[in-house]
């Protein structure tokens, strides 16, 4: 326990967050998990606040998680879905901004296919803003829920904190905002982060950009890892020549029980979902209740999003 430095109006990415700020969220989230287990799953904290979920990409899981989080904090939650195709033809982000302002929300949660869209909006919007994923840039609430999940498992992994932890992030980190955000968060907390995947699917000069270690062969990247995080492979990557085929990808970069043998003894397996079984992860791993914490990630996602809304509204989002 201590005093935390949380003075942010927006949560745009993990790149900005200090160790103390990360802990301020995780601590509130750990406490809020209790709310989600009771009969009356609601606290009055954000009563009278308006939360707008603005999703430019389909993501039922994330949107639902934010919606439920807002409702459990007693906020009024409105969902606005904007199909990307109609965006191209019609309303620009700048026009959307004006519409949003007029609704006078306290908090806006935005998912957008373009990197940096939220930074653009944050510069002009009075409300607090939560980045629910922008292009391939950041997805901070996913990273925070992953950090909470890892934190819960530190005793199992026989670690006191993140400082000697090794986390292998496996797969298409080039196109992954999840990989960027978790790498930044883990580095802030002192962990060793590895990006493991075929060369064409790793960010350019990832070592320098994110302070990660890079491995091209899965067997080498998994060696001694306490946490193995599989990334979703967007199947459309195949058509543009990043990798030849699913069969080839799974043969060399698919997470199987046999490959996990070189990881640390109690290594846990994570996945941001939704899972491509038999592409980046074998069912025997995804469903292994000894190792897989994928369902815990979902539960923690709700608590983390409640905690984020709480911290941001405390700073005085809106007017």
């Amino acid at each position: 326990m201590g005093t935390h430095l949380w003075n942010r109006k927006h949560l745009l990415g993990m790149a900005d967050l200090s160790r103390e700020e990360i802990h301020a969220i995780l601590e509130a989230a750990a406490s809020l998990r209790e709310v989600n287990r009771r009969d009356i799953k609601k606290v009055p904290t954000l009563r009278g606040k308006t939360v707008i979920n603005l999703f430019y990409e389909n993501s039922t899981r994330t949107r639902t998680s934010f919606e439920l989080a807002g409702k459990r904090m007693s906020a009024d939650v409105i969902n606005m879905s904007v199909a990307s195709s109609s965006v191209k033809k019609g309303e620009t982000l700048y026009d959307t901004l004006a519409t949003l302002q007029a609704m006078n929300p306290d908090l806006v949660v935005i998912r957008h296919p373009e990197s940096g869209a939220q930074e653009f909006l944050a510069r002009h919007l009075d409300a607090s803003l939560v980045n629910a994923g922008d292009g391939r840039h950041e997805h901070p609430t996913q990273a925070l829920l992953d950090l909470l999940t890892i934190h819960d498992n530190l005793p199992l992994l026989e670690q006191e904190d993140f400082s000697s932890l090794i986390v292998a992030v496996c797969g298409d980190s080039l196109h992954s905002r999840v990989a960027r955000s978790i790498a930044l968060g883990l580095k802030t907390l002192g962990a060793e982060v590895r990006f493991v995947g075929p060369p064409g699917l790793l960010p350019f000069r990832a070592e320098e950009a994110f302070g990660v270690r890079v491995f091209h062969r899965l067997e080498q990247g998994l060696e001694g890892a306490h946490v193995v995080m599989a990334l979703r492979l967007q199947l459309e990557r195949m058509s543009v020549g990043f990798i030849p085929s699913v069969r080839e990808y799974f043969a060399f970069w698919g997470l199987t029980k046999a490959r996990l043998a070189v990881a640390a003894p109690n290594a846990i397996v994570m996945h941001p979902g939704p899972i491509n079984r038999g592409v980046e992860i074998a069912s025997e791993v995804a469903d292994d209740r000894e190792r897989s914490v994928i369902l815990d990630q979902v539960a923690n996602g709700l608590a983390v999003r409640m905690a984020v809304m709480y911290r941001l509204c405390g700073v005085g989002g809106g007017r």
Partner: protein, 427 residues
């Protein structure tokens, strides 16, 4: 004595004539009459230029005037007004207008507009291929007859190797210069900034340096094959500078220009997703920037040109990857280039040469020097005056500068075109 002007006591820097000394200059009927210790005719108006530098008006060989077709971005009147404010007396206008300047009638329209509404000289550049589509060559001979000074598909590369060969061959008939926007489309992909650590961090698709250098390498082989005259527009990479240097050493007729934003800024300017730092080619990393400075210092890069590319707010007030490429530069050309002199990259005369006589010679223009008998296109500036770039105070129609807020030194005081005062900082 109407039509005469006696500019007295300036530091006259005329790279073409190897002059850098305190001297007077006499203008009569729009023509430079005398440079040195002049005796002015009786009653001639006198301009006391003590403490100022007098140089040839700048020649910017890479400007987008946007007219015809995109008058909401810029017009010939507005663009040349900005040029005058920047001390630029001649602009070469790129052909990616609507319609594209791929026809003598468009060249004629631009020249007619420039005569009636323009503040400075306009030298049209014609398209290499019809509609900039990269398929059929334009009527280069007729275009030259109509007033075109060079050819380029700028905004896009001439990507097809066979077509580039034919363009170089055909243009050489007329001794015409082919200006290439060197970028391999397949390597560039959907990249919207320089591929580097910053693009990785920002999660923006990167555009590798090799997209430029691969294209320059190819083109230089075609220049060797055809004997054409070839110029690399807005060079941005060390690899391409090296290649141009080697080709020049081999005696090929090859040159290149650099834009101030490329030698003054790096991809760090993109942090925060600032769309006013988005252009093509993109701002590169520190290594590339140093290679460009080296290229200037070694005389491989002989021209500084702005790639002045005005855009309306709606084209920039969008997601980074959706934003239009380009920045305005005419009014920051001189002070930002003078940083090269202050940083010891090159001398004042060499720096001014890159913005006067060098581009004028490449385009075959009788400009860019203070030789008696030449049109009196003149620039008077205060070498050390400090000021802060303010987008709101620019003179053009669009204000998409990447230098907003930059502290610079060197201020244009007066600009003359053929002896006529077109910009007066004090007036």
């Amino acid at each position: 004595m109407s039509g005469f002007l006696w500019i007295r006591g300036a530091r006259v820097v005329d790279p073409a004539n190897g002059l850098d000394a305190t001297a007077d200059l006499l203008v009569g009927d729009g023509i430079i009459r005398e440079v040195g210790r002049c005796d002015a005719p009786l009653g001639c108006p006198v301009l006391d230029a003590d403490g100022l530098v007098l140089a040839p008006g700048l020649v910017d060989m890479h400007v987008h005037l946007r007219e015809p077709g995109f008058e909401y971005k810029e017009t010939i009147a507005g663009g040349t007004r900005a040029a005058a404010a920047g001390g630029v007396t001649t602009v070469a206008a790129m052909p990616n207008t609507r319609p594209v300047n791929d026809d003598p009638s468009v060249t004629g329209y631009i020249l007619q507009k420039a005569r009636s509404e323009g503040w400075v000289n306009v030298a049209p550049i014609g398209a290499v291929t019809r509609g900039l589509e990269g398929r059929e060559l334009t009527e280069m001979g007729l275009q030259i007859r109509a007033g075109c000074v060079a050819f380029s598909d700028d905004g896009r590369p001439v990507a097809d190797s066979g077509l580039m060969r034919r363009a170089l061959e055909y243009a050489s008939t007329f001794g015409a210069l082919i200006i290439q926007h060197a970028e391999d489309p397949a390597l560039a992909g959907h990249g919207c900034m320089h591929e580097g650590v910053i693009s990785s961090r920002l999660g923006l698709p990167g555009l590798p340096s090799e997209a430029e250098s691969v294209m320059v390498d190819r083109d230089l082989r075609l220049v060797a094959l055809t004997g054409g005259r070839y110029h690399v527009a807005h060079i941005s990479t060390g690899q391409a500078v090296e290649a141009v240097g080697r080709a020049r050493a081999m005696g090929l007729s090859v040159s290149c220009e650099v834009a101030p934003h490329h030698f003054a800024l790096t991809d760090e300017a993109v942090l925060g997703y600032d769309t006013d730092a988005k252009m093509s080619p993109p701002l590169r990393g520190h290594e590339e920037r140093h290679a460009l400075l080296e290229g200037l210092a070694r005389g491989i890069i002989t021209v500084i040109a702005t790639d002045h590319a005005p855009h309306d707010p709606d084209s920039k007030r969008v997601e980074f990857c959706q934003a239009s490429n380009g920045v305005v530069g005419l009014e920051t050309l001189l002070p930002v280039s003078l940083e090269l002199v202050r940083d010891g990259v090159m001398g004042l005369s060499a720096c001014l040469a890159a913005m006067t006589v060098a581009p004028a010679r490449l385009l075959g223009l009788n400009r860019g020097a203070l030789t008696p008998g030449m049109p009196a296109d003149l620039l008077l500036f205060d070498l050390d005056a400090p000021w802060v770039v303010d987008a709101a105070r620019l003179h053009g129609t669009s204000r998409n500068t990447c230098f907003h807020g930059r502290r610079v030194r060197g201020r244009v005081k007066k600009t003359f075109v053929a002896g006529r005062l077109v910009h007066d900082d004090d007036g």
